[in-house]
């Protein structure tokens, strides 16, 4: 077995993942009356309103920590552009026709940057939604902008999250075990991340 994720990497992944799920459920409750029952399930509307911004801080902290840990591996390269041009092959499971992937393939990198960007937008706009009583009337456009930005960024992140969860659990077999236990079989590494495998196998 090859170590794919260190313990620290797995902790930061699951911190951001679990806090995101809480944010998703409470956020959806505030988003739609038809999903308000989610807030009831999680302790009531007022409780959800109390915790949503605080857990949001934890989520963005994890996100920025993740940035520190993975920024180098997530850099978009020329090979990634080639890969994303050929993404149709990836979708149709014709992986042999794709450029080889390093530790993360271009799709994973895009997911990382989308979540980082959406998370930052949600953090900034979220502050305005957290303490609107502190924003003077003359700066009310901040509140007007924040409500729109917050929900837009959330919807973008949800789209990315749906694909991420699907791929991590159903589509790419072995990747869920990898992010839980931290190790992958050599054949898995060769199949999905050949360039990374070549580097670590040499060691």
């Amino acid at each position: 077995m090859i170590e794919r994720y260190t313990l620290a990497e797995r902790v930061v992944h699951w911190t951001s993942g679990l806090t995101y799920i809480y944010q998703l459920l409470t956020g959806l409750a505030f988003y739609s009356p038809h999903l308000y029952w989610l807030a009831i399930l999680l302790g009531g509307g007022a409780t959800s309103r109390y915790w949503h911004p605080l857990i949001g801080l934890l989520f963005t902290a994890a996100l920025f920590w993740m940035f520190r840990v993975w920024a180098r591996d997530m850099r978009i390269t020329a090979l990634d552009r080639e890969w994303s041009d050929a993404i149709g092959h990836y979708i149709r499971n014709e992986d042999e026709q794709l450029p080889l992937a390093d530790r993360f393939n271009a799709g994973q990198k895009f997911f990382f940057w989308v979540m980082l960007f959406a998370g930052t937008v949600m953090l900034v706009s979220g502050v305005a939604l957290w303490i609107p009583e502190k924003i003077p009337w003359s700066l009310r456009f901040l509140r007007y902008t924040a409500v729109l930005l917050h929900v837009s960024a959330a919807l973008v992140s949800i789209g990315a999250f749906i694909i991420h969860v699907y791929m991590g659990t159903a589509m790419v077999r072995g990747s869920f075990t990898a992010i839980v236990r931290g190790v992958v079989p050599p054949a898995w590494a060769r199949t999905h991340h050949r360039l990374w495998y070549n580097r670590v196998a040499r060691r």
Binding site: A29, F30, Y31, S32, P33, Y36, A39, G44, G45, A46, S48, R49, Y50, I91, R92, N93, D95, L129, P132, E133, W137, R140, R143, Y144, T145, V147, L148, V151, S152, L155, I158, G159, I162, I163, Y166, A170, M171, V172, R173, G174, P185, A187, W188, R190, T191, H192, Y197, A201
Partner: protein, 290 residues
Amino acid sequence: MSNGPLQIKAISGHAGTVPGRDTSRDYDVCKLIDVTTCIGCKACEVACLEWNGYPFRETVFDNTYQTMPDLEWNYYNLIRFDEHVGEDGAFSWLMRKDQCMHCADPGCLRACPADGAIVQYSNGIVDFQQEHCIGCQYCVTGCPFNIPKLNPETKKVHKCTLCSDRVGAGLEPACIKACPTGCLHFGSKEDMVDLAGKRAQQLREHTSHKNAGVYDPAGVGGTHVIYVLHDIEHPEAYGGLPSNPRVPWTVRLWKGPLKWLGNLAMAGGIAGVVMHYLSFGPKEVKEDKP
């Protein structure tokens, strides 16, 4: 509505008019504030505190006659004082009773995510139900009049109820009852619009206020609190009364098209990944040797 029988027609030993006599309160109610006859006595502020059972809260002195700089969660009703110099150089001292306008299209209610925290009664009163309020203050963002205020201790938002508890019992709001000059009126929207129109016409014809008019902004579907202003062209002069209030377009977009677009996108995303799995299935690991 059942409040007809309890409407007061005559009062013993009472000097002056009977508040709201001969006006119908059958349908949508309305408060009319004739700012041209307001003397800034603040009896309405006191009556509001008394009826709602709030103690007089701490305030700051800001070199005006205004009781406090802004409305507060336990101060629903505030006369705004503005010293105003008109285009002709004439000085006037404007006094406007500020409180919830009870919009026909309430931005607070549109923005609120909490089931049952804001209700609009068929008589037009928009009321906050604090037991359902979650303290998110989306209503603060939805309101074009800067009215709802958070109680920082309970995290519940409050505002003028138009004395829904009094109106429900056939009484007029407390502020109306306290007004000594008759600048406050209460009755059906139809009657109040009619009365306001006549008063504005009187001002235009018999005084120098040639721009006198009725403030009943169409941008929020009309309001259940309307004003007679000396100068309908410049409502901002009265402590920042907006000339064309509307629910902010970002709030309308957020609560309207964006919601449906988002729902569609989320359902589409889930359907998309399911379809992908059914069409292509999982990625298998190739067992070839390097």
